[in-house]
Amino acid sequence: MPVQASDTMPAGDRSFTGPLERVDDCCYRIPKSYKPGMLVDGLIFADERLVSHLRSDRAPEQVANVAFLPGIQSASLAMPDIHWGYGFCIGGVCATDPAVGGVVSPGGVGYDINCGVRLVRTNLELADVQPILVQLVNQMIRDIPVGVGQGGNHIFSPAELRVLMQEGVGYLRGRGFATPDDIACTEAEGCIAEARPELVSDRALARGNDQCGTVGAGNHFIEVQVVDRVEDPVAAARFGLHAGQICVLIHSGSRGLGYQVCDDALKALRDAPAKYGIALPDRQLVCAPVESPEGRHYLGAMRAAANYAFCNRQLLMWQVREVFARVFAKPWETLGMELVYDVAHNIAKIEEHDVAGSRKPVCVHRKGATRAFPAGHHDVPLRYRDIGQPVIIPGDMGRASWVLLGGPRALERSFGTTCHGAGRCLSRTAATKAAKGRNIRDELSKSGVVARSRSREGLAEEQPLAYKDVDIVVDVVHRAGLSTKVARLRPLGVIKG
């Protein structure tokens, strides 16, 4: 029988009815007394405008479940774009201490290892692009692989992929697809150390051999935007941004290679909880101590996949530059198409943090959450170190996206982390139902956004109303001091799967 969409599940089946205690005007607590087995509290950054969203799905339950993970430090955290994921919620942050048996959980990174975003600025103004916007977006969807089953323009042999995963974006520089500035403006300079490409399976290599430089589907996209408003002129100037300027936002991850690395890890870890005596409330939270053969194996393969993802976004940006060069009949360098920053929002990293008065390395899981280091942090690129790390927050394709700055309180409150997007508020089935009888492409066009998608589902499921208002989400992290507002960008054109 055909697939039927069911949105009639009883509310009790999907809503959260547990405790949400107000900590301050932008933070709520799930006390560890909520469930036997929670080692720490859950803390969710949200305000009164988002509380109804919080209770609408099982994401808070997932925050509580993450608090079971051995070695978890401070609290199980979630950002205001929180929504129901698998295992971890989307928007979840968890740091574990390897020295006390702290674990790494592939579910805390997700299948799309190093899914992330990068923002490219141009020296074009709105008036330069508006007259040829349709032509530009049409050219983008013709030339840049996007959607299910779309192979890429770059094919890598297994041996080439292993070097690419070891060297990251530096490998692409050697192939003529990256510049030193591109590398300098990518998180971890586009290459996470201690990657172990030899641990990536043949199946993962087969899935990834023609997908480096492809957008994919789901919520991934490439968007032409205009800087709508500048909130922090000093930081905006440092990032090379001003009102009226055209930018391009790219959102994708490690494609099939990364999904397979996660899948392989989950299979390899099936017996690990029993082996290490770990009791878990959800099978998807399967994990192993960071300092165990299984934990080290996953981290090595995950870092390799993360480097693949940096390369994927680099190749996508390179193809965007080529499209702009073709359409505007000028070299991309003349168009000033420089990378502002590339940042991961699905990753686990060993970082040094102050926890309860002592500084120590912890394994920070960011699942739909963005690193947001403040001024002075040694991991912020030199060119931005005196002001803080750029944070790129995609919103939805009808309203806005944001550029933020690593916040003064991020290190003390959230292991140097902020939100990663607007966060869904409608399920895919509900969004599809809401799109019946409407033409989303036409609606977007009437509001000034040229949208092109490979599938009908791509626009229906990702329509603006499927997402929370990113302005509210960003306002919460701004007031919480996790990251501060720099510039708001408005969409003009988007390609999607």
Partner: protein
């Protein structure tokens, strides 16, 4: 019988059948309907055999769909018909379909993976039921 159920970011699939082999076949149909929408557009022109080891029905379902997923991701094979036999140590199956052709087929979703979250296979009075969530 299978149906898609709501999940905020992804898609859930609930499956019911009279037996475990029928459940695995029905789940495979639901899986490819999520990818391709209408299975009628897929012609049963090629077949592929599968043999999967495992005794736990839940992991058997996970690994079976994982193999089908890999066949699509790597070899671009879309399937619509499934014959599944379950024995003591695993399953054997034949799937029939054709290679994805963008000129012929319209696809609906890219499935990243079959998650373990709320993954459940159980025998009920009169049949079997499975619940799974796929990452989109």
């Amino acid at each position: 019988m299978h149906e898609v159920f709501e999940h905020t970011a992804d898609l859930g699939l609930r499956v019911e059948a009279a037996s475990l082999p029928a459940l695995l076949a029905e789940a495979a149909q639901g899986f490819f309907e999520i990818i391709a929408g209408d299975l009628a557009q897929i012609r049963p022109q090629v077949s592929r055999s599968f043999a999967i080891a495992g005794e736990d029905p839940t992991y058997l379902l996970l690994d079976w769909l994982g193999e089908l997923h890999a066949a699509f991701e790597i070899d671009r094979l879309l399937f619509r018909e499934f014959d599944v036999a379950v024995h003591d140590r695993g399953l054997t199956a034949t799937a029939r379909g054709e290679r994805y052709n963008p000129a012929v087929h319209t696809l609906a979703h890219e499935i990243k993976a079959i998650t373990l979250h709320e993954l459940d296979v159980r025998e009920l009075p009169g049949g079997w039921q499975a619940t799974l969530i796929v990452d989109i």
